[in-house]
Amino acid sequence: MTGKVRLQGKLYTALILLFLYAPIFVMITFSFNASKSHTVWAGVTLDWYRELFSDKLILKAFYTTIAVSVISAAFATLVGTCAAVGLSNMRRRWRTPLLFVNNIPLINADIITGIAMCLLFVFLGGFLKFKRGFGTLLVAHITFNIPYVILSVMPKLRQLDDNLVDAAMDLGCTWQRAFRKVMLPEIMPGIVNGALIAFTMSIDDFVISYFTAGSKTQTLSMAVYAMTRKRISPEINALSTILFVSVLILLLIINIREIRQEEKQKKLLKIGGKI
Protein backbone atom coordinates (compact mmCIF):
# COMPACT_ATOMS: atom_id res chain seq x y z
CA MET A 1 0.00 0.00 0.00
CA THR A 2 2.58 2.57 1.07
CA GLY A 3 4.80 1.40 -1.77
CA LYS A 4 2.04 2.20 -4.24
CA VAL A 5 1.52 5.62 -2.75
CA ARG A 6 5.22 6.29 -2.88
CA LEU A 7 5.34 5.29 -6.54
CA GLN A 8 2.43 7.57 -7.34
CA GLY A 9 4.15 10.37 -5.52
CA LYS A 10 7.30 9.85 -7.51
CA LEU A 11 5.36 9.77 -10.78
CA TYR A 12 3.61 12.98 -9.82
CA THR A 13 6.92 14.69 -9.04
CA ALA A 14 8.37 13.44 -12.32
CA LEU A 15 5.39 14.81 -14.25
CA ILE A 16 5.69 18.20 -12.61
CA LEU A 17 9.41 18.35 -13.34
CA LEU A 18 8.75 17.36 -16.93
CA PHE A 19 6.12 20.05 -17.25
CA LEU A 20 8.50 22.66 -15.83
CA TYR A 21 11.58 21.71 -17.77
CA ALA A 22 10.33 20.31 -21.08
CA PRO A 23 10.28 23.74 -22.81
CA ILE A 24 13.80 24.51 -21.69
CA PHE A 25 14.97 21.09 -22.74
CA VAL A 26 13.46 21.55 -26.21
CA MET A 27 15.08 24.97 -26.47
CA ILE A 28 18.48 23.59 -25.53
CA THR A 29 18.16 20.65 -27.93
CA PHE A 30 17.27 22.84 -30.87
CA SER A 31 20.18 25.18 -30.18
CA PHE A 32 22.29 22.34 -31.59
CA ASN A 33 20.09 21.73 -34.64
CA ALA A 34 21.85 22.13 -37.99
CA SER A 35 18.70 23.53 -39.61
CA LYS A 36 16.88 26.71 -38.67
CA SER A 37 13.67 24.79 -38.14
CA HIS A 38 12.19 23.96 -34.76
CA THR A 39 10.45 20.84 -36.03
CA VAL A 40 12.85 19.27 -38.49
CA TRP A 41 16.04 17.81 -37.00
CA ALA A 42 18.97 18.07 -39.39
CA GLY A 43 21.94 16.95 -37.32
CA VAL A 44 24.13 18.37 -34.59
CA THR A 45 26.05 21.60 -35.00
CA LEU A 46 27.73 24.26 -32.90
CA ASP A 47 27.27 26.85 -35.66
CA TRP A 48 24.68 28.86 -33.72
CA TYR A 49 27.05 29.26 -30.81
CA ARG A 50 29.81 30.29 -33.19
CA GLU A 51 27.51 32.77 -34.89
CA LEU A 52 26.40 34.09 -31.53
CA PHE A 53 29.94 34.88 -30.47
CA SER A 54 30.75 36.64 -33.73
CA ASP A 55 27.62 38.80 -33.49
CA LYS A 56 28.94 42.19 -32.42
CA LEU A 57 25.54 43.66 -31.52
CA ILE A 58 24.75 40.76 -29.23
CA LEU A 59 28.18 40.85 -27.64
CA LYS A 60 27.85 44.57 -27.01
CA ALA A 61 24.43 44.02 -25.43
CA PHE A 62 25.97 41.21 -23.39
CA TYR A 63 28.72 43.48 -22.02
CA THR A 64 26.14 46.13 -21.19
CA THR A 65 24.07 43.56 -19.33
CA ILE A 66 27.03 42.25 -17.36
CA ALA A 67 28.23 45.77 -16.51
CA VAL A 68 24.79 46.85 -15.36
CA SER A 69 24.23 43.69 -13.33
CA VAL A 70 27.60 43.75 -11.58
CA ILE A 71 27.63 47.48 -10.79
CA SER A 72 24.00 47.60 -9.75
CA ALA A 73 24.30 44.49 -7.60
CA ALA A 74 27.38 45.93 -5.87
CA PHE A 75 25.72 49.27 -5.25
CA ALA A 76 22.43 47.78 -4.16
CA THR A 77 24.29 45.51 -1.75
CA LEU A 78 26.07 48.45 -0.19
CA VAL A 79 22.98 50.63 0.08
CA GLY A 80 20.69 47.76 1.01
CA THR A 81 22.96 46.51 3.77
CA CYS A 82 23.28 49.96 5.29
CA ALA A 83 19.53 50.39 5.07
CA ALA A 84 18.93 47.03 6.74
CA VAL A 85 21.31 47.88 9.59
CA GLY A 86 19.56 51.22 10.01
CA LEU A 87 16.13 49.65 9.91
CA SER A 88 16.96 47.01 12.48
CA ASN A 89 18.08 49.74 14.87
CA MET A 90 14.78 51.55 14.53
CA ARG A 91 11.78 51.34 16.81
CA ARG A 92 9.22 48.85 15.62
CA ARG A 93 6.66 51.66 15.12
CA TRP A 94 8.83 53.03 12.30
CA ARG A 95 10.41 49.85 11.10
CA THR A 96 7.21 48.02 10.19
CA PRO A 97 5.81 50.70 7.86
CA LEU A 98 9.24 51.22 6.28
CA LEU A 99 9.64 47.52 5.60
CA PHE A 100 6.18 47.52 4.13
CA VAL A 101 7.17 50.36 1.79
CA ASN A 102 10.31 48.41 0.94
CA ASN A 103 8.20 45.43 -0.10
CA ILE A 104 5.95 47.36 -2.45
CA PRO A 105 8.41 47.46 -5.37
CA LEU A 106 8.79 43.68 -5.08
CA ILE A 107 5.09 43.08 -5.52
CA ASN A 108 4.52 45.93 -7.93
CA ALA A 109 4.30 44.91 -11.60
CA ASP A 110 7.56 45.54 -13.47
CA ILE A 111 5.72 47.39 -16.17
CA ILE A 112 4.50 49.99 -13.69
CA THR A 113 7.93 50.45 -12.16
CA GLY A 114 9.38 50.66 -15.67
CA ILE A 115 6.96 53.23 -17.01
CA ALA A 116 7.11 55.29 -13.84
CA MET A 117 10.89 55.43 -13.98
CA CYS A 118 10.85 56.17 -17.67
CA LEU A 119 8.51 59.10 -17.13
CA LEU A 120 10.60 60.34 -14.24
CA PHE A 121 13.79 60.21 -16.30
CA VAL A 122 12.17 61.92 -19.28
CA PHE A 123 10.75 64.59 -16.96
CA LEU A 124 14.01 65.17 -15.05
CA GLY A 125 16.00 64.91 -18.28
CA GLY A 126 14.14 67.92 -19.58
CA PHE A 127 15.28 70.01 -16.61
CA LEU A 128 18.75 68.69 -16.02
CA LYS A 129 19.60 68.18 -19.70
CA PHE A 130 20.40 64.49 -19.67
CA LYS A 131 19.11 61.71 -21.86
CA ARG A 132 18.20 58.20 -20.92
CA GLY A 133 21.19 55.90 -21.34
CA PHE A 134 23.50 53.66 -19.36
CA GLY A 135 23.29 55.96 -16.33
CA THR A 136 19.52 55.85 -16.07
CA LEU A 137 19.53 52.12 -16.73
CA LEU A 138 21.95 51.66 -13.86
CA VAL A 139 19.95 53.83 -11.46
CA ALA A 140 16.81 51.86 -12.31
CA HIS A 141 18.52 48.55 -11.68
CA ILE A 142 20.01 49.71 -8.38
CA THR A 143 16.57 50.88 -7.34
CA PHE A 144 14.78 47.63 -7.98
CA ASN A 145 17.65 45.60 -6.52
CA ILE A 146 17.81 47.33 -3.13
CA PRO A 147 14.64 45.76 -1.68
CA TYR A 148 15.95 42.26 -2.43
CA VAL A 149 19.15 42.96 -0.54
CA ILE A 150 17.30 44.45 2.43
CA LEU A 151 15.00 41.46 2.49
CA SER A 152 17.92 39.08 2.50
CA VAL A 153 20.01 40.91 5.15
CA MET A 154 17.19 41.67 7.63
CA PRO A 155 16.72 38.08 8.90
CA LYS A 156 20.45 37.80 9.63
CA LEU A 157 20.29 40.99 11.65
CA ARG A 158 17.31 39.70 13.56
CA GLN A 159 19.28 36.56 14.48
CA LEU A 160 22.17 38.71 15.67
CA ASP A 161 22.32 39.25 19.41
CA ASP A 162 22.24 43.01 20.07
CA ASN A 163 24.44 42.51 23.09
CA LEU A 164 27.33 41.33 20.93
CA VAL A 165 27.93 44.78 19.45
CA ASP A 166 27.43 46.42 22.82
CA ALA A 167 29.87 43.99 24.36
CA ALA A 168 32.45 44.73 21.68
CA MET A 169 32.11 48.44 22.31
CA ASP A 170 32.29 47.93 26.09
CA LEU A 171 35.53 46.10 25.49
CA GLY A 172 36.97 49.12 23.74
CA CYS A 173 35.98 48.85 20.09
CA THR A 174 35.00 51.98 18.26
CA TRP A 175 31.57 51.57 16.66
CA GLN A 176 33.15 51.25 13.19
CA ARG A 177 35.37 48.49 14.46
CA ALA A 178 32.51 46.75 16.20
CA PHE A 179 30.55 46.92 12.97
CA ARG A 180 33.44 45.56 10.92
CA LYS A 181 34.65 42.89 13.32
CA VAL A 182 31.46 41.71 14.95
CA MET A 183 28.35 42.60 13.05
CA LEU A 184 29.60 42.29 9.46
CA PRO A 185 30.96 38.72 9.72
CA GLU A 186 27.69 37.62 11.33
CA ILE A 187 25.46 39.04 8.61
CA MET A 188 27.85 38.31 5.72
CA PRO A 189 25.93 35.25 4.44
CA GLY A 190 22.82 37.41 4.07
CA ILE A 191 24.78 40.09 2.25
CA VAL A 192 26.31 37.63 -0.20
CA ASN A 193 22.94 36.01 -0.90
CA GLY A 194 21.41 39.44 -1.40
CA ALA A 195 24.14 40.37 -3.87
CA LEU A 196 23.63 37.16 -5.83
CA ILE A 197 19.87 37.62 -5.95
CA ALA A 198 20.31 41.24 -7.07
CA PHE A 199 22.70 40.14 -9.79
CA THR A 200 20.30 37.49 -11.10
CA MET A 201 17.37 39.91 -11.01
CA SER A 202 19.38 42.42 -13.02
CA ILE A 203 20.49 39.94 -15.62
CA ASP A 204 17.03 38.78 -16.50
CA ASP A 205 15.16 42.03 -16.27
CA PHE A 206 13.56 43.07 -19.54
CA VAL A 207 10.63 45.34 -18.83
CA ILE A 208 12.30 47.93 -16.61
CA SER A 209 15.43 48.03 -18.77
CA TYR A 210 13.30 48.47 -21.86
CA PHE A 211 11.79 51.65 -20.52
CA THR A 212 14.87 53.18 -18.95
CA ALA A 213 17.73 52.36 -21.34
CA GLY A 214 17.07 55.14 -23.83
CA SER A 215 18.24 55.23 -27.43
CA LYS A 216 21.91 54.27 -27.16
CA THR A 217 21.97 51.38 -24.73
CA GLN A 218 20.52 47.93 -25.16
CA THR A 219 20.63 45.01 -22.78
CA LEU A 220 20.74 41.41 -23.87
CA SER A 221 17.08 40.72 -23.24
CA MET A 222 16.15 43.77 -25.32
CA ALA A 223 18.36 42.64 -28.21
CA VAL A 224 16.84 39.15 -28.06
CA TYR A 225 13.32 40.55 -28.06
CA ALA A 226 14.07 42.57 -31.22
CA MET A 227 15.35 39.41 -32.90
CA THR A 228 11.98 37.69 -32.59
CA ARG A 229 10.36 39.71 -35.36
CA LYS A 230 9.43 36.65 -37.39
CA ARG A 231 10.94 33.35 -36.47
CA ILE A 232 13.01 32.58 -33.45
CA SER A 233 16.54 32.12 -34.69
CA PRO A 234 18.53 29.21 -33.23
CA GLU A 235 21.06 31.86 -32.23
CA ILE A 236 18.51 32.89 -29.61
CA ASN A 237 18.24 29.26 -28.47
CA ALA A 238 21.99 29.19 -28.05
CA LEU A 239 22.01 32.44 -26.14
CA SER A 240 19.09 31.39 -23.91
CA THR A 241 20.85 28.12 -23.21
CA ILE A 242 23.93 29.96 -22.03
CA LEU A 243 21.84 32.31 -19.88
CA PHE A 244 19.83 29.44 -18.44
CA VAL A 245 22.95 27.51 -17.52
CA SER A 246 24.60 30.54 -15.89
CA VAL A 247 21.51 31.41 -13.85
CA LEU A 248 21.20 27.76 -12.89
CA ILE A 249 24.79 27.74 -11.64
CA LEU A 250 24.19 30.92 -9.65
CA LEU A 251 21.06 29.47 -8.07
CA LEU A 252 22.93 26.30 -7.21
CA ILE A 253 25.63 28.36 -5.51
CA ILE A 254 23.02 30.29 -3.53
CA ASN A 255 21.24 27.13 -2.44
CA ILE A 256 24.38 25.21 -1.56
CA ARG A 257 25.54 28.16 0.52
CA GLU A 258 22.26 28.23 2.38
CA ILE A 259 22.32 24.51 3.09
CA ARG A 260 25.91 24.72 4.34
CA GLN A 261 25.02 27.60 6.61
CA GLU A 262 22.11 25.71 8.09
CA GLU A 263 24.27 22.69 8.75
CA LYS A 264 26.92 24.85 10.36
CA GLN A 265 24.33 26.43 12.61
CA LYS A 266 22.94 23.07 13.60
CA LYS A 267 26.43 21.93 14.54
CA LEU A 268 26.99 25.06 16.58
CA LEU A 269 23.69 24.54 18.37
CA LYS A 270 24.66 20.97 19.16
CA ILE A 271 27.97 22.08 20.62
CA GLY A 272 26.17 24.80 22.53
CA GLY A 273 23.73 22.20 23.89
CA LYS A 274 26.58 20.00 25.15
CA ILE A 275 28.20 22.85 26.99
Partner: protein, 364 residues
Protein backbone atom coordinates in the same frame (compact mmCIF):
# COMPACT_ATOMS: atom_id res chain seq x y z
CA UNK B 1 25.79 54.78 17.24
CA UNK B 2 22.31 54.95 15.82
CA UNK B 3 22.84 58.43 14.51
CA UNK B 4 26.09 57.51 12.89
CA UNK B 5 24.56 54.55 11.13
CA UNK B 6 21.72 56.74 9.91
CA UNK B 7 24.26 59.21 8.62
CA UNK B 8 26.04 56.40 6.82
CA UNK B 9 22.82 55.36 5.15
CA UNK B 10 22.04 58.90 4.10
CA UNK B 11 25.54 59.29 2.76
CA UNK B 12 25.47 56.14 0.69
CA UNK B 13 22.05 56.99 -0.70
CA UNK B 14 23.29 60.44 -1.65
CA UNK B 15 26.35 58.87 -3.27
CA UNK B 16 24.15 56.51 -5.25
CA UNK B 17 22.08 59.43 -6.50
CA UNK B 18 25.15 61.46 -7.37
CA UNK B 19 26.81 58.70 -9.32
CA UNK B 20 23.59 57.97 -11.12
CA UNK B 21 23.12 61.59 -12.13
CA UNK B 22 26.75 62.26 -12.88
CA UNK B 23 26.86 59.37 -15.32
CA UNK B 24 23.81 60.33 -17.31
CA UNK B 25 24.70 63.72 -18.76
CA UNK B 26 27.98 62.28 -20.02
CA UNK B 27 26.16 60.40 -22.75
CA UNK B 28 24.77 63.68 -24.08
CA UNK B 29 28.16 65.37 -24.32
CA UNK B 30 29.11 63.69 -27.53
CA UNK B 31 26.50 65.53 -29.61
CA UNK B 32 28.65 67.08 -32.32
CA UNK B 33 28.62 70.68 -33.42
CA UNK B 34 26.97 71.15 -36.81
CA UNK B 35 29.65 70.04 -39.21
CA UNK B 36 30.64 71.30 -42.61
CA UNK B 37 29.24 69.14 -45.42
CA UNK B 38 32.64 67.84 -46.50
CA UNK B 39 33.97 66.36 -43.28
CA UNK B 40 31.65 64.34 -41.08
CA UNK B 41 32.23 63.64 -37.44
CA UNK B 42 30.38 62.73 -34.27
CA UNK B 43 27.81 59.98 -34.27
CA UNK B 44 24.64 58.67 -35.82
CA UNK B 45 21.95 56.81 -33.88
CA UNK B 46 20.29 54.14 -35.95
CA UNK B 47 17.08 52.33 -34.97
CA UNK B 48 16.38 49.32 -37.13
CA UNK B 49 14.46 46.05 -37.00
CA UNK B 50 16.28 43.15 -35.33
CA UNK B 51 18.34 40.96 -37.70
CA UNK B 52 17.80 43.29 -40.64
CA UNK B 53 21.30 44.29 -41.70
CA UNK B 54 24.76 42.97 -42.54
CA UNK B 55 26.44 44.15 -39.37
CA UNK B 56 29.88 44.45 -40.92
CA UNK B 57 28.51 47.42 -42.89
CA UNK B 58 28.29 49.43 -39.68
CA UNK B 59 32.02 49.14 -39.00
CA UNK B 60 32.73 49.93 -42.62
CA UNK B 61 30.63 53.09 -42.47
CA UNK B 62 32.54 54.12 -39.35
CA UNK B 63 35.96 53.76 -40.97
CA UNK B 64 34.81 55.41 -44.19
CA UNK B 65 33.25 58.48 -42.63
CA UNK B 66 34.65 58.72 -39.10
CA UNK B 67 31.10 58.83 -37.76
CA UNK B 68 30.40 56.52 -34.84
CA UNK B 69 27.28 54.38 -35.24
CA UNK B 70 25.04 53.61 -32.27
CA UNK B 71 22.87 50.79 -33.50
CA UNK B 72 19.68 49.80 -31.70
CA UNK B 73 16.96 47.37 -32.71
CA UNK B 74 13.18 47.18 -32.35
CA UNK B 75 10.70 44.37 -32.80
CA UNK B 76 7.72 46.07 -34.40
CA UNK B 77 6.55 49.38 -35.83
CA UNK B 78 4.31 50.25 -32.93
CA UNK B 79 7.15 49.79 -30.48
CA UNK B 80 9.36 52.12 -32.50
CA UNK B 81 6.57 54.67 -32.79
CA UNK B 82 5.88 54.57 -29.06
CA UNK B 83 9.51 55.11 -28.17
CA UNK B 84 9.68 58.17 -30.44
CA UNK B 85 6.38 59.53 -29.15
CA UNK B 86 7.52 59.21 -25.57
CA UNK B 87 10.14 61.87 -26.19
CA UNK B 88 13.69 61.93 -24.93
CA UNK B 89 14.89 59.49 -27.58
CA UNK B 90 17.58 60.65 -29.95
CA UNK B 91 17.44 58.52 -33.07
CA UNK B 92 18.78 59.93 -36.33
CA UNK B 93 17.81 57.13 -38.70
CA UNK B 94 14.72 54.95 -38.29
CA UNK B 95 13.43 52.24 -40.62
CA UNK B 96 9.64 51.92 -40.26
CA UNK B 97 7.32 50.02 -42.60
CA UNK B 98 5.17 51.62 -45.28
CA UNK B 99 2.00 52.36 -43.29
CA UNK B 100 4.03 53.67 -40.37
CA UNK B 101 5.97 56.01 -42.67
CA UNK B 102 2.72 57.45 -43.94
CA UNK B 103 1.38 57.79 -40.41
CA UNK B 104 4.51 59.59 -39.26
CA UNK B 105 4.38 61.91 -42.26
CA UNK B 106 0.75 62.70 -41.43
CA UNK B 107 1.70 63.42 -37.82
CA UNK B 108 4.65 65.60 -38.81
CA UNK B 109 7.19 63.33 -37.14
CA UNK B 110 9.67 63.12 -40.02
CA UNK B 111 12.24 65.49 -41.51
CA UNK B 112 12.34 66.13 -45.24
CA UNK B 113 15.48 64.56 -46.64
CA UNK B 114 18.14 66.57 -48.46
CA UNK B 115 18.64 64.38 -51.51
CA UNK B 116 21.79 66.31 -52.46
CA UNK B 117 23.39 64.32 -49.64
CA UNK B 118 21.85 61.03 -50.77
CA UNK B 119 22.90 60.66 -54.42
CA UNK B 120 22.46 56.88 -54.21
CA UNK B 121 18.70 57.37 -53.88
CA UNK B 122 18.73 57.55 -57.68
CA UNK B 123 19.49 53.80 -57.69
CA UNK B 124 16.14 52.95 -56.10
CA UNK B 125 13.76 51.16 -58.44
CA UNK B 126 10.99 53.25 -60.03
CA UNK B 127 8.23 51.53 -58.07
CA UNK B 128 9.77 52.62 -54.78
CA UNK B 129 10.83 56.14 -55.73
CA UNK B 130 7.47 57.74 -55.03
CA UNK B 131 5.52 54.98 -53.27
CA UNK B 132 1.95 55.20 -51.97
CA UNK B 133 3.12 55.77 -48.42
CA UNK B 134 5.31 58.74 -49.37
CA UNK B 135 3.78 59.98 -52.63
CA UNK B 136 6.15 62.90 -53.07
CA UNK B 137 9.18 60.78 -52.18
CA UNK B 138 10.44 63.51 -49.86
CA UNK B 139 10.66 61.79 -46.49
CA UNK B 140 11.96 58.31 -47.07
CA UNK B 141 14.38 56.12 -49.02
CA UNK B 142 13.11 52.58 -49.42
CA UNK B 143 15.32 49.92 -47.78
CA UNK B 144 13.88 46.45 -48.33
CA UNK B 145 10.73 45.30 -50.07
CA UNK B 146 8.87 42.07 -50.67
CA UNK B 147 5.50 40.60 -51.51
CA UNK B 148 2.95 38.59 -49.59
CA UNK B 149 1.74 35.62 -51.58
CA UNK B 150 0.07 32.26 -51.13
CA UNK B 151 2.45 29.54 -49.95
CA UNK B 152 1.14 26.01 -50.45
CA UNK B 153 2.29 22.45 -49.93
CA UNK B 154 1.89 20.62 -53.24
CA UNK B 155 1.45 17.25 -51.52
CA UNK B 156 -1.93 18.43 -50.19
CA UNK B 157 -3.25 19.70 -53.51
CA UNK B 158 -5.99 17.70 -55.28
CA UNK B 159 -5.30 16.78 -58.92
CA UNK B 160 -6.49 19.42 -61.30
CA UNK B 161 -6.43 22.30 -58.84
CA UNK B 162 -4.36 25.15 -60.22
CA UNK B 163 -3.35 27.42 -57.41
CA UNK B 164 -3.43 31.00 -58.63
CA UNK B 165 -6.01 32.70 -56.44
CA UNK B 166 -6.75 33.61 -52.81
CA UNK B 167 -9.97 31.58 -53.25
CA UNK B 168 -8.21 28.47 -51.86
CA UNK B 169 -7.95 30.14 -48.46
CA UNK B 170 -11.74 30.13 -48.40
CA UNK B 171 -12.25 26.69 -49.97
CA UNK B 172 -14.16 24.15 -47.82
CA UNK B 173 -12.42 21.33 -49.73
CA UNK B 174 -9.26 22.20 -47.78
CA UNK B 175 -10.98 22.61 -44.44
CA UNK B 176 -8.59 22.09 -41.53
CA UNK B 177 -5.52 22.51 -43.73
CA UNK B 178 -5.55 26.30 -44.02
CA UNK B 179 -3.51 28.71 -41.90
CA UNK B 180 -4.25 32.43 -41.72
CA UNK B 181 -2.00 35.35 -40.77
CA UNK B 182 -2.77 36.41 -37.21
CA UNK B 183 -2.77 40.15 -37.72
CA UNK B 184 -5.80 42.30 -38.58
CA UNK B 185 -4.31 44.44 -41.30
CA UNK B 186 -2.89 41.50 -43.27
CA UNK B 187 -5.91 39.25 -42.82
CA UNK B 188 -8.38 41.95 -43.86
CA UNK B 189 -6.04 42.99 -46.67
CA UNK B 190 -6.22 39.52 -48.21
CA UNK B 191 -10.00 39.36 -47.89
CA UNK B 192 -10.37 42.82 -49.43
CA UNK B 193 -8.06 41.94 -52.32
CA UNK B 194 -9.99 38.73 -52.98
CA UNK B 195 -13.22 40.74 -53.11
CA UNK B 196 -11.61 43.11 -55.58
CA UNK B 197 -11.24 46.09 -53.26
CA UNK B 198 -8.25 48.15 -52.26
CA UNK B 199 -6.49 47.02 -49.09
CA UNK B 200 -6.39 50.66 -48.06
CA UNK B 201 -10.12 51.14 -48.48
CA UNK B 202 -11.93 53.54 -46.20
CA UNK B 203 -15.34 52.29 -47.30
CA UNK B 204 -16.90 50.69 -44.24
CA UNK B 205 -19.27 48.53 -46.30
CA UNK B 206 -16.33 46.92 -48.07
CA UNK B 207 -14.63 46.26 -44.75
CA UNK B 208 -17.84 44.70 -43.39
CA UNK B 209 -18.01 42.49 -46.46
CA UNK B 210 -14.42 41.38 -45.84
CA UNK B 211 -15.39 40.66 -42.24
CA UNK B 212 -18.21 38.38 -43.39
CA UNK B 213 -15.78 36.53 -45.64
CA UNK B 214 -13.30 36.10 -42.80
CA UNK B 215 -15.93 34.84 -40.36
CA UNK B 216 -17.06 32.30 -42.96
CA UNK B 217 -13.43 31.26 -43.32
CA UNK B 218 -12.84 30.81 -39.59
CA UNK B 219 -14.36 27.30 -39.24
CA UNK B 220 -12.14 26.11 -42.13
CA UNK B 221 -8.94 27.22 -40.44
CA UNK B 222 -6.46 25.03 -38.69
CA UNK B 223 -5.22 28.11 -36.84
CA UNK B 224 -4.37 31.78 -36.92
CA UNK B 225 -0.59 31.82 -36.86
CA UNK B 226 2.42 34.08 -36.90
CA UNK B 227 5.68 32.70 -35.46
CA UNK B 228 4.65 29.08 -35.91
CA UNK B 229 4.09 29.44 -39.67
CA UNK B 230 7.63 28.23 -40.29
CA UNK B 231 7.35 25.15 -38.14
CA UNK B 232 3.93 24.18 -39.46
CA UNK B 233 4.79 24.59 -43.13
CA UNK B 234 8.23 23.01 -42.80
CA UNK B 235 6.74 20.10 -40.91
CA UNK B 236 4.10 19.57 -43.65
CA UNK B 237 1.21 20.20 -41.26
CA UNK B 238 -0.86 22.52 -43.44
CA UNK B 239 -1.68 23.10 -47.09
CA UNK B 240 -2.02 26.90 -47.36
CA UNK B 241 -0.71 29.99 -45.67
CA UNK B 242 -0.40 33.57 -46.89
CA UNK B 243 3.09 34.84 -46.10
CA UNK B 244 6.20 36.66 -47.31
CA UNK B 245 8.11 35.58 -50.40
CA UNK B 246 11.50 35.89 -48.66
CA UNK B 247 10.42 33.56 -45.87
CA UNK B 248 9.08 31.06 -48.39
CA UNK B 249 12.66 30.65 -49.67
CA UNK B 250 13.82 29.74 -46.15
CA UNK B 251 10.92 27.33 -45.51
CA UNK B 252 11.46 25.59 -48.82
CA UNK B 253 14.90 24.44 -47.69
CA UNK B 254 13.25 22.20 -45.11
CA UNK B 255 10.19 21.19 -47.13
CA UNK B 256 10.76 20.88 -50.91
CA UNK B 257 7.03 20.40 -51.56
CA UNK B 258 6.32 24.05 -50.86
CA UNK B 259 5.35 26.44 -53.67
CA UNK B 260 4.67 30.16 -53.80
CA UNK B 261 2.23 32.06 -55.95
CA UNK B 262 1.28 35.70 -56.25
CA UNK B 263 -2.52 35.43 -56.53
CA UNK B 264 -4.12 36.99 -59.59
CA UNK B 265 -6.38 39.25 -57.52
CA UNK B 266 -3.28 41.14 -56.40
CA UNK B 267 -1.63 41.29 -53.01
CA UNK B 268 0.36 43.36 -50.58
CA UNK B 269 3.85 44.66 -51.40
CA UNK B 270 5.58 45.77 -48.27
CA UNK B 271 8.43 48.22 -48.02
CA UNK B 272 10.51 49.34 -45.07
CA UNK B 273 12.05 52.75 -45.60
CA UNK B 274 14.82 54.80 -44.02
CA UNK B 275 13.64 58.09 -42.53
CA UNK B 276 14.94 60.81 -40.25
CA UNK B 277 12.76 61.71 -37.26
CA UNK B 278 11.89 65.34 -36.66
CA UNK B 279 14.53 67.22 -34.72
CA UNK B 280 17.29 64.59 -35.21
CA UNK B 281 20.55 66.00 -33.86
CA UNK B 282 22.77 64.50 -36.55
CA UNK B 283 20.76 64.97 -39.72
CA UNK B 284 23.81 65.33 -41.96
CA UNK B 285 25.30 62.09 -40.62
CA UNK B 286 21.95 60.39 -40.96
CA UNK B 287 21.78 61.31 -44.63
CA UNK B 288 25.31 60.01 -45.12
CA UNK B 289 24.25 56.75 -43.46
CA UNK B 290 21.16 56.42 -45.65
CA UNK B 291 23.30 57.09 -48.70
CA UNK B 292 25.81 54.46 -47.63
CA UNK B 293 23.13 51.84 -47.03
CA UNK B 294 21.56 52.53 -50.42
CA UNK B 295 24.80 51.96 -52.34
CA UNK B 296 24.70 48.88 -54.55
CA UNK B 297 27.41 47.02 -52.65
CA UNK B 298 25.75 47.55 -49.25
CA UNK B 299 22.35 46.65 -50.66
CA UNK B 300 23.65 43.38 -52.10
CA UNK B 301 25.28 42.43 -48.81
CA UNK B 302 22.13 43.21 -46.86
CA UNK B 303 20.16 41.01 -49.23
CA UNK B 304 22.64 38.21 -48.67
CA UNK B 305 22.21 38.37 -44.90
CA UNK B 306 18.51 39.14 -44.53
CA UNK B 307 17.01 37.27 -47.48
CA UNK B 308 14.77 40.21 -48.35
CA UNK B 309 14.89 42.16 -51.60
CA UNK B 310 16.64 45.51 -51.61
CA UNK B 311 14.88 48.51 -53.09
CA UNK B 312 18.11 49.28 -54.98
CA UNK B 313 17.20 48.14 -58.51
CA UNK B 314 20.79 47.57 -59.62
CA UNK B 315 21.64 45.45 -56.62
CA UNK B 316 18.51 43.35 -56.78
CA UNK B 317 19.03 42.76 -60.49
CA UNK B 318 22.59 41.53 -60.08
CA UNK B 319 21.76 39.62 -56.92
CA UNK B 320 18.89 37.82 -58.61
CA UNK B 321 21.47 35.79 -60.55
CA UNK B 322 22.24 33.88 -57.34
CA UNK B 323 18.84 32.17 -57.43
CA UNK B 324 17.47 29.57 -59.80
CA UNK B 325 14.75 30.62 -62.19
CA UNK B 326 11.81 29.54 -60.02
CA UNK B 327 13.04 31.37 -56.93
CA UNK B 328 13.96 34.41 -58.95
CA UNK B 329 10.39 34.64 -60.22
CA UNK B 330 9.15 34.50 -56.62
CA UNK B 331 11.55 37.02 -55.15
CA UNK B 332 11.87 39.48 -58.02
CA UNK B 333 8.47 39.74 -59.69
CA UNK B 334 8.29 41.88 -62.82
CA UNK B 335 6.63 45.27 -62.51
CA UNK B 336 3.56 44.17 -64.50
CA UNK B 337 2.99 41.27 -62.10
CA UNK B 338 2.80 43.83 -59.32
CA UNK B 339 0.25 45.95 -61.16
CA UNK B 340 -2.57 44.86 -58.82
CA UNK B 341 -0.43 44.93 -55.68
CA UNK B 342 -0.52 47.71 -53.13
CA UNK B 343 1.39 48.83 -50.06
CA UNK B 344 -0.37 49.56 -46.81
CA UNK B 345 -0.77 53.22 -45.97
CA UNK B 346 -2.00 54.89 -42.83
CA UNK B 347 -5.79 54.88 -42.36
CA UNK B 348 -8.05 57.37 -40.56
CA UNK B 349 -8.56 56.62 -36.88
CA UNK B 350 -12.20 55.55 -37.22
CA UNK B 351 -11.23 52.90 -39.77
CA UNK B 352 -8.42 51.61 -37.56
CA UNK B 353 -10.87 51.39 -34.67
CA UNK B 354 -13.31 49.50 -36.88
CA UNK B 355 -10.52 47.06 -37.78
CA UNK B 356 -9.75 46.51 -34.12
CA UNK B 357 -13.39 45.91 -33.21
CA UNK B 358 -14.04 43.53 -36.08
CA UNK B 359 -10.82 41.66 -35.39
CA UNK B 360 -11.70 41.18 -31.75
CA UNK B 361 -15.18 39.89 -32.58
CA UNK B 362 -13.74 37.65 -35.32
CA UNK B 363 -11.27 36.03 -32.97
CA UNK B 364 -13.73 35.77 -30.07
Amino acid sequence: MKNKICALIALSLAAALLIGCAKTPASGDSTPAPSAPAALSGEVNVYNWGEYIDESLLAEFETQTGVRVNYMTFQNNEEMYASLRLGGSEYDVIIPSDYMVSRMIAEDMLEKLDFANIPNAALIGDRNKAPEYDPAGEYSVAYMTGTVGLIYDSSFIADGDIIDSWSFLFDPAYSGEILMIDNPRDAFGIALKYLGYSLNTTNKDEIQEAYKLLSAQKPLLQAYVMDTIFDKMEGGEAAFVPYYAGDYITMKESNPNLRFVLPREGSNVFADAMCIPKGAANKRNAEAFINFMTATDSAARNMEVTGYVSANAEASKSYAENYDEADRAVLFPADDELADCESFINLPQDILTLYDELWVSLKA
